[in-house]
Assembly symmetry: D3
């Protein structure tokens, strides 16, 4: 059930049976010479909708710009500052929890969002408790990173070994190829690819990762792989979501 | 050209010929008993992409949650506070202007966003000038409201007369029916519909507009009307965009 | 009744009969070679006090610095950033609504304030509702722009035609001449005056409007005209204020 | 020279000979049963203009709402939060220092403003240095409290002894009587008046100071006294201002 | 009783008999050629712990970085901006007041903290009242500056006369020598030392106070003096604390 | 080399040979019936100073209050909100990087700080780049959690097996016993201890972890173990620090 394709009375009815909602969150950032700038949002959105179908859960609008400051030396990247993203998340949860939602399951497509999301959850719990919102104590948030699902991880290892890398990975590129086969890109990729340098400022990132990839070989990706990753993630996260909403 | 389906080298190439970008912005808010919660984002996104195709312009990711605090007494509505949305816009423009974009054309689907967007533009110009960003003086932002296009306005008048109303209007519902024919909703609509009360707090809004509509009869909408509105808006805004990017 | 010339027990008594208050808001910004930097505050304050007398309404202190970032490339301009002005308005309304005021009527002298004021109202309604302030649902804010009164507009058209322009207008200059006849300025005005360029950054504004005027010929202003504008605005806004405070 | 009655070319000319500006700051807060709510702004403004005349200094618009949170349990009081006032001051000084002003002399009428003003100055110096504004190192701010002038203090002691108190004092009431003789208020004042309790929350303040006075007997005030205080303050602060602008 | 060496059940027990807590606050800033960068935190912490022992009061963790922006042109200085420190203080008091503390006694070692602390107290009282926290009206904060104790002042006058100065003073250096005799530093001190220049920006400060001292001769300090200052401050502040917690 | 026991000329000298600094960060939060509220700060500070000695690195003042909002339902806990902590970290790094430091190594004693610290690093890199601070691109931050050292983890496993738990662990309690043998606490501990519940709001946390422990048996701790943990952590983190400062 997609929130943006629902009416408010439908939401009201939904809330009679569940207080859970899935919120996809991605990023708008460079993904190497062949990866789509929307990769993280595309993956998170597709998988979140798959989980929503599998579990009858409400799926909210995709947060398609996240925390990607370290990628901003590449054109096309858009990032919120962490303090902005914290306010965004606080606003989402405040609105939805007043309406009766209390289980917020963020399906996330970007590693760089994790820290800020966790900080945002803490900030929000305290804000709702400060305001003495009626269901403040029931509000629970969780971040679920599709790319860290054990089934996804295992599959990536099998298919790509060390060439999976950690940014602009073949696994995420594969998912975007599955979702948008019309947007598969070709570009020469240097056989050697930087890896192992920690992430600091945007300028430093570009200096060390000149084409944007981090140890990955996205040329290995295929739409078929993408379907496999998609299926694995949807299955694993559907279980995880149900466990989350059914837990105390 | 869709930013999320592009690679960073493609953006780099794009910037050689244009510094313009279209940013769709909508809202996630109640639209009466039959209107989709995503109406404003759906319309803005569809029209923005149409304009992008017509003008070869880059189209960024849709800001699908806007300033809809007055609708938050209806379940399913999500809103940013104005101060949050200002930070979001500031972050978008700061990232993109550093990369070389300087003409920001927001195609907007929600009246409630206008004031905050304008405030955000002022805040951002001053921030960029304070930072002495190299192209600070060139940065220009404009908000273009598809529903205020004269061709759209005229068509709505012809088709619906007074029943167009001002929220959950048949014109915007029609566009969503055109875009998502599979999500056309039916629900009984009281023949009498509130109108004329100004907008204050969320509780006050719901008190005066109990089913969420403001003077509108969305039952008049059809997907065919939606196509007409879409075509009119794309045409008019394409001209407007080109004028904007070509102006000094 | 002027708040600054009242005592707190007088305010307490006033609140027994009315919860309305008029808040004048202007700006401190360049108004061309002959316009006073305080023009917008002077006009708003004078007219607000006139309305206060005509309607027995409480008139608060004048917010004499507003949102004028686009004028800051001219010396003497002072501006709040939109996010600052939002906090200022929130603080005013929070204090006053706790004391029992609930109808806030901003008489505004500066177009640049409108967007931020509207954003501030939304922010404030939500803040008061979040805090569960006792009268949060009753709080209503309205911005009334004296220069957009139909009677004012009509008079300006009659007196000045196209030479009214849109900044440093003869109508506003006339009101300041009526209020401060001792501060009528003379300076050569180029017969040609820039107009039609949209407002972006401060540097861009000065580039396109080198003497600060926007299509106006303030040399046409006279103190007598000022009295006419003043009378028209006071009359029209008095009716508007009464309608506002008496509405549900 | 009053900024609000000047034109921008006049400001430009002024800056050729001086970079100093006087900014009056008061408060809008209860001043006991007979004191005007605008007392602190009225005094600061009148004295600031007197100093401006005596020294040929530019006088900016009056900040008529300050930090008076502890008075907000009395109706009619309006206060900025300290964090808001800091942003306001930062915005004023940023605008004016970019235009070439560098000596900011705040003539203050309210003890409650002092701490926040000092905090704001520190915040602003650092902000301007962070931005590397061209004259950041030259910017200097000073707060001058007219009621703490030694001549004022001595006169208050002579005229009122212990009945001067520390809020709604006869000295400040006298100045308002001198400035606004038409607004002299009469009300019964209990002979016993609370004093000596420190200032904490607004509720606590009203509990301990039930009529708003702090140890004062404003019934002793006369307009003639007001003139004496005014003259003393203007003289002493004029010297202080000149010393400030002429210092390195 | 030191909070950091207590368990939460011990705190619970403490709250049955007292709602008071002592919070030491210092600074991390240059203190001239021989003064320790931690001087203000060291003094505040030692004296606060002495007061805690003498009065059986709870002593919280030391805020060892304060508001020292004007010292930041010297390496090793760390400062919070005033707006940051206000949030820090607000967070401390919000947490502790929810737990039942209501008397907050800040023992302060740095003059530069005073203004911001006072602003923070005002901000916090209003925040707690806005939230309608159960004990909001009881919360009371006080700043006690050990170096402004009359006994300390008198002793410094006796021992050092005019050579006490106002920053990197022999009295504070003496206390650090008493607390950390192993960290007594030697360095040549110019016999002439700057004084009398007001504090503005960091660059301006270093320009006028090139070695960081303000009119002081810290070479006069001895550990024995330090013990005397410590004893005097502990005695005087213990009385002050008891008066504070026992007052209404 | 301890920053608070150094003078500014000593810092200046240090910067000639190294731009690295260690910043201990802990928390002030409940640690079960027998754990000290300052546990996380105590451990971080002790280990950081050990590392500082071993590597000749500068060690800054301990951030002894961190992000512990989920513990605030237990008395004695003090927490910053994430947005406050982000500002604090930004202020520290801004001051220190202007002075020439560029390698910031946070030795952390509290899992709850990690997310916010990482968010703060991102926020800060971008802020420094926005400001165009001279060494913005060189600034690098790293968080090193002593309790996640592999040697520490292995030792805890050997000594305590499953009874290590995840909060108020015997390993961290042991370190505090080693550092403060005089503050070893005794209290009855229920043999059954809650575990496995995720962390959400403060009220929820206390509901599920009624005595504050998370799956741990701190009664197993001894000061001797503490020494072992201390030694292991100092050794491992010293290597890690040197690798960090020597890396590009």
């Amino acid at each position: 059930m997609l929130l943006h394709l629902s009416t408010w009375p439908e939401v009201e009815t939904y809330l009679l049976q569940s207080t859970g909602i899935i919120l996809p969150i991605g990023s708008t950032e460079q993904h190497g010479p062949t990866g789509l700038i929307g990769t993280d949002a595309i993956c998170a959105e597709a998988i979140a909708r798959g989980v929503g179908e599998a579990t009858q859960a409400m799926v909210g609008p995709t947060i398609n710009v996240g925390m990607a400051l370290h990628h901003t030396a590449f054109p096309g990247t858009i990032s919120l500052r962490p303090t902005t993203l914290i306010q965004v998340v606080r606003d989402y949860i405040t609105c939805l929890s007043k309406a009766g939602f209390s289980k917020f399951y963020f399906i996330n497509g970007h590693g760089g969002n994790i820290a800020t999301l966790k900080a945002a959850f803490s900030e929000t719990y305290a804000y709702l408790e400060d305001l003495q919102i009626h269901n403040a104590h029931q509000v629970q948030c969780q971040v679920a990173n599709w790319f860290m699902c054990s089934s996804v991880y295992k599959l990536a290892k099998e298919l790509y070994g060390d060439q999976e890398g950690s940014h602009a990975t073949p696994s995420e590129v594969a998912v975007t190829q599955f979702v948008y086969p019309e947007a598969i890109k070709q570009a020469p990729l240097s056989p050697e690819v930087a890896k192992g340098h920690r992430i600091y400022s945007a300028a430093d990132f570009r200096l060390h990762y000149p084409d944007g990839r981090m140890g990955s070989n996205p040329a290995l990706a295929t739409p078929e792989h993408g379907k496999q990753f998609y299926d694995a993630a949807v299955k694993e996260l559907s279980n995880s979501y149900l466990e989350f909403v059914n837990a105390e």
